[in-house]
Symmetry: C2
Subunit: 178 residues, 2 copies
DNA sequence: ACTAACATGTAACCCGTTACATGATTAT
DNA sequence: ATAATCATGTAACGGGTTACATGTTAGT
């Protein structure tokens, strides 16, 4: 159910094609949601059948034709109503934690490598989040209401990223003593 | 693929029934993985067909008969080998963040309530994690290698819980000014 | 010649959730 | 009486991943 609402949320900013959305999921949106292009195209068709989106075919030359989607009034309403439905907190299923549970003298070297590469990846995304924050969200209380929401999502990413890095340090320290 | 390995990891400690496992997923294991009993029973049958577990029927009086599962040698090996397969970091899909992205004057009161209840839930689980840590893991470097791994998983839960609470505070502070 | 970007799709499969089902014993 | 615990299961559905497919244009 939620992918539908993520897509509609993304379309609040303006009309987009499935391809545009797929690219957003690889970058900005991707920080807190992921979806393949197959999933996105399927969902877009469902949403149009539902009357929540309307798609317009746009012929192009030199490129394949595309379908641009926008929110309908019904879509807007559906999105607003969805906000008030209950959501259960989702447990993060991280396979790396399962592996750590199986820590042994034999596999410790491998796990150190895997943690180190996670750490490196997180340092990169964190740098990006922080850049975005410093550029557009440096004065949170001066933002519009809507932007405040976006800022808080960004903040969640930054804080949990920082926490993750701190944890990686702790892990590496303990593992290196084995 | 991963549920299979979580189950096998749980069986490292000793033989268990599907019911036992389901209860673990509601408590200890549940802090970093979740699975319904239907999923567990299905997975156990698959694992037995695979030769990774062996199930023994145990007749009982006054209670339904049960099947106790234990790891086979092949299962042990499969689990150890799995450690060395690459895992991609998984993005947490949290619907609440999607909702926050849709923040407005109209829904802010509702979102404050939802964040507050998340906060309360987290305070509870955090208290439990910390109790476990203080009781069994207060001297990390003195633990056996295997227990060190378990400790690090627990630490991940505690640290990310603390971070989550800090974030909730930030959110509530900003939202209450709207 | 080859790769990347643009743009969309089908098909098979696996993983997970929800709803429904059974049936005895023990505790309130 | 009623609910909770023990113990396992079927069936339908929905969400998500992987593999495969098509075809143009622009850049190295």
């Amino acid at each position: 159910m939620a992918l539908a609402h993520v897509i509609m949320t993304a379309l609040l900013e303006g009309e987009q094609t499935g391809y545009d959305l797929a690219r957003s999921f690889d970058t900005s949106l991707g920080f807190f949601w992921q979806a393949s292009h197959q999933q996105i195209y399927a969902e877009l068709r469902k949403l149009e059948e539902n009357g929540w989106l309307n798609g317009t075919e746009v012929p192009q030359q030199g490129k394949p034709d595309k379908v641009v989607y926008g929110l309908t009034t019904a879509g807007h309403e559906a999105l607003e109503n969805w906000i008030y439905t209950a959501t259960r907190p989702s447990v993060t299923k991280d396979e790396l934690l399962v592996k750590l549970y199986n820590l042994s003298e034999k596999n410790v070297a491998y796990l150190i490598r895997e943690i180190t590469s996670r750490q490196a990846a997180m340092i990169k995304s964190l740098a990006l989040y922080e850049k975005i924050r410093d550029k557009n969200y440096s004065h949170p209380h001066k933002l519009s209401t809507r932007k405040k929401g976006v800022y808080l999502v960004l903040l969640a990413g930054i804080q949990s990223g920082e926490q993750y890095l701190a944890w990686c340090d702790d892990v590496l320290q303990l593992l290196s003593s084995i």
